[in-house]
Symmetry: C2
Subunit: 231 residues, 2 copies
Amino acid sequence: MIRALVFDVFGTLVDWRSGIAREAARLLGPDPSLDAGAFADAWRRRYEPAMETVRSGARPFVDLDTLQAESLPRVLAEFGIADVPDAVRRDLVQAWHRLDAWPDVPDALRRLRTRHLLAPNSNGHVRLMVDLARRNGLIFDAILGAGHSRDYKPKPALYRDAVTALGFAPAETLMVAAHSADLAAAAHHGLSTAHIARPREHGPGGGETAPAGPVTYAARDLADLADQLGC
Amino acid sequence: MIRALVFDVFGTLVDWRSGIAREAARLLGPDPSLDAGAFADAWRRRYEPAMETVRSGARPFVDLDTLQAESLPRVLAEFGIADVPDAVRRDLVQAWHRLDAWPDVPDALRRLRTRHLLAPNSNGHVRLMVDLARRNGLIFDAILGAGHSRDYKPKPALYRDAVTALGFAPAETLMVAAHSADLAAAAHHGLSTAHIARPREHGPGGGETAPAGPVTYAARDLADLADQLGC
């Protein structure tokens, strides 16, 4: 029996690549040579090593806005983009707060919330999650994840703290993600797991279509998961 | 300009005394000699010293369910109530999850949420806040407070972490409470403050009708605060 759902957000609930590409094209001007999708991919590639500086204990917890701001200059340099004013750099970092949900998400979350507690368990901090929820009309019962645990997935604290905060048994708590590695870590801590196929997360043909390992549920999208849970 | 509101909950948003009295009367049987309001008061009086064991650093953080469960035997003894089965004791602790909001709260929170981010900043933990919100139809953007900061008000972390999590300046963050001491602590950390009169919090004639010190807003109830904020 599943009582609570905790969600990965970037890629699972929101389409970060299209959103960042749209905002980069808008904010960096109408340069026809900018491959905005590649720009989004390049920025996203710096995400894991940036988080690793915190996960490793090399520095105290800093939030994702800080990490994205730190990695942006190298992404701009990689694309040969110079002379970007500070205000535009800040606005680019804020673009991560202006991403759109995948089309199936708002209605499916409403259905799921009728019978379960819902919370993001993302590497995004509280304000980032709040802004994405408000933009897309998503209602959560709480915001868990990096802001709550002051660390980054897949560190154990993120999964353990999510279970503790919602107060059900680990197996009654369902980690929902489009990323098999996140689910494997959740399963290691006893959570139930649901894989959501997001075949276009990294652009056409770039995303997990099926889980790489055993999961409790495998779903085509979030509406399919709501069907499977009887919501 | 106020951008976010963070709320004390017990006494400010929910009527803990009537709720605990109702549940005590129900769960401890139809004993006409039980003064259920006095029972609620006695349990509540053990709240501050229990939290102090965490605030002082004498023990690691434990949540309010744990503290209430620990103090319950002495409250029962004080009232000469013996032989209470463990299941009833557990249900009494859960009574704190089944409190009703003051009548003005649900509609006023809906109005306030149209223009502000809202979060409890209570000594209650995440699941306790989630249960009270669900029971009363309250929508928050995040759950802050003891579960987020792993400590209890009025420790500085509760006020600082609430500001950090929502990402506005301290003065743009409004601490809302029916307790002047909570507001004085919030003001010390630069937050704006709103006092809500709850003259019946501790029963007829038992509650703050006005703030004991300077506040940014003083309101008759939460609807009055929404009026004053132009919501």
